[in-house]
């Protein structure tokens, strides 16, 4: 019985140490470029969940910058969107647009937006993956496009977003 127990614990230790990814996380920088390179953004047009057409150039004519937040309506996304919702009043010259890149249709996106309680936040429906491809959008990807139509920030959502907006 003792040998079975020892075999069990040794096997478990080997299993836990060898087959998983995070037990000894590394600091190595995995990015292709260590600093973010400002790039021009192509213009885009997209429909909102209320069937309004949004055009990037038009928005930048009225605002100092456009912020895009890619949501899949998950709990992490909700936490970020709540924070954006709370803070966006501090930035009246910035246009905040949520991007639903998972729903696939205006009707479905509208349902997801309503059911999750974000009707008051302008949401673009990226049903043809245009924005996803343009900005390599994934869950929580956040993009700032400045008035020169340059992408000055394209990362997962973090507080640095607001530092960048403050600096505009």
């Amino acid at each position: 019985m003792h040998s079975i127990k020892h075999i069990f614990f040794i096997s478990l230790a080997l299993f836990l140490s060898a087959c998983v990814e995070d037990l000894a996380p590394e600091k190595e920088d995995l990015r292709k470029e260590s600093s973010f390179e400002v790039k021009p953004s192509a213009n885009f047009s997209a429909s909102t969940t209320t069937n309004d057409a949004i055009n990037l150039e038009d928005e930048l004519a009225s605002y100092d910058a456009v912020v895009l937040y890619f949501t899949m309506w998950c709990s992490t996304c909700s936490g970020h969107m709540d924070e954006i919702d709370y803070k966006q009043d501090n930035y009246p010259n910035i246009r905040f647009l949520m991007v639903d890149y998972v729903s696939g249709s205006i009707a479905q996106s509208k349902r997801s937006q309503r059911d999750n309680g974000y009707q008051h936040m302008t949401t673009l429906v990226d049903n043809n993956d245009v924005l996803q491809n343009l900005y390599d959008g994934k869950m929580a990807t956040t993009v700032i496009i400045n008035s020169q139509q340059e992408i000055i920030f394209n990362e997962l959502y973090k507080n640095k977003l607001y530092d960048m907006l403050d600096a505009l």
Binding site: K5, F8, L12, L16, C19, V20, E21, D22, L23, P25, E26, K27, E28, D29, L30, R31, K32, S34, M72, W73, C74, S75, T76, C77, S78, G79, H80, D82, E83, Y86, D100, V102, S103, G104, S105, Q108, S109, R111, S112, D115, N116, G117, K138, M139, A140, T141, E155, L156, Y157, K158, N159, K160
Partner: protein
């Protein structure tokens, strides 16, 4: 593990169903009716008595995620976060009594322990996760100091248990599969406290059925680090458990329903879920 037990094997299966969430303002938002978010966990546990008052244990979960949301269907699976624990029993004899005849009979069973959570699951900071629905673990080591105080005066049992956990800092160089500027992250301290009352019915052969109701509160402080925010979280829940124990207490079958309190003010930045657990444990004398 019973006082007389030398080792115990515990197998349980959790079925967790998402019912909604509490937002940052502690407001409850119900899950969209078209969504169906579920997580299933098979927990394999083993406990070993090391000395008359000391025991150690390990639990390894395997996790399945099965989600339908916004017209999408996703499924993923993998090892969850394992945990190892050590417990000291601050009592030498079984403290359950049938009636109180002396002050000594009021002495509760007290357990003090430490547990280490090992990030064996798939986390937002590893290679295999691109969104929330694929996560099976937190990605951080955590050490918890735990206590359990329990008193049984048949047919009633009262239990209070709590824990205080500290996450270890770790380097992060990717989030949800996207490389990020390397930084150091530490999740906030985690606290839990629960109180339970149970009632035991003796059956013909002195086997028992115990029904327990509990209230639990779990919270975690805001995390630290330059990356994606880890918000402060809170959850309040109740639980109802029915357990059958054989007369010699070697076999215990358990079914439990944990219900997060789906009303405003009972949580923050946290999913509201119901968890049904089926479990079986066998103690070797």
């Amino acid at each position: 593990m019973p006082k007389f037990g030398k080792k115990v094997v515990d197998v349980s299966f959790d079925m967790e169903h998402y019912q909604g969430k509490w937002d940052a303002n502690r407001k409850y938002i119900a899950d969209p009716s078209a969504d169906d978010l579920n997580q299933y966990r098979l927990n394999l546990g083993y406990g070993q008595r090391l000395a008359s008052n000391w025991q150690a244990g390990i639990v390894v979960p395997y996790v399945w995620n099965d989600n339908q949301f916004s017209g999408q269907t996703t499924q993923s699976e993998g090892l969850g976060d394992a945990s190892v624990s050590f417990w000291y029993e601050a009592f030498d004899r079984v403290t359950c009594v049938y009636q109180v005849n002396s002050i000594e009979d009021l002495k509760p069973a007290m357990y003090f322990g430490g547990s280490l959570t090992i990030p064996t699951g798939k986390s937002a900071y590893g290679d295999h996760v691109t969104d929330d629905y694929e996560i099976t673990g937190r990605g951080f080591y955590r050490f918890d100091a735990n206590f359990v105080i329990e008193k049984t005066i048949y047919p009633f049992t009262a239990t209070v248990q709590g824990s205080y956990g500290k996450h270890f800092a770790r380097p992060v160089n990717q989030e949800y599969g996207s490389p990020v500027e390397p930084y150091t992250k530490r999740l906030g301290d985690r606290k839990s406290l629960s109180a339970a009352v149970g009632y035991t019915v003796f059956l013909e052969d002195l086997d028992t059925i115990t029904v327990t109701t509990a209230f639990a509160k779990l919270s975690e402080d805001e995390g630290r680090g330059a990356g994606t925010n880890s918000l402060a979280i809170e959850k309040q829940s109740t639980a109802l458990t029915a357990a059958y124990a054989s007369p010699d207490l070697t076999r215990v079958f358990k079914i439990s329903w944990s219900h997060a309190l789906a009303t405003d003010g009972r949580g923050k930045n946290f999913p509201v879920t119901d968890i049904i657990t089926l479990g079986f444990s066998y103690a070797f004398n």
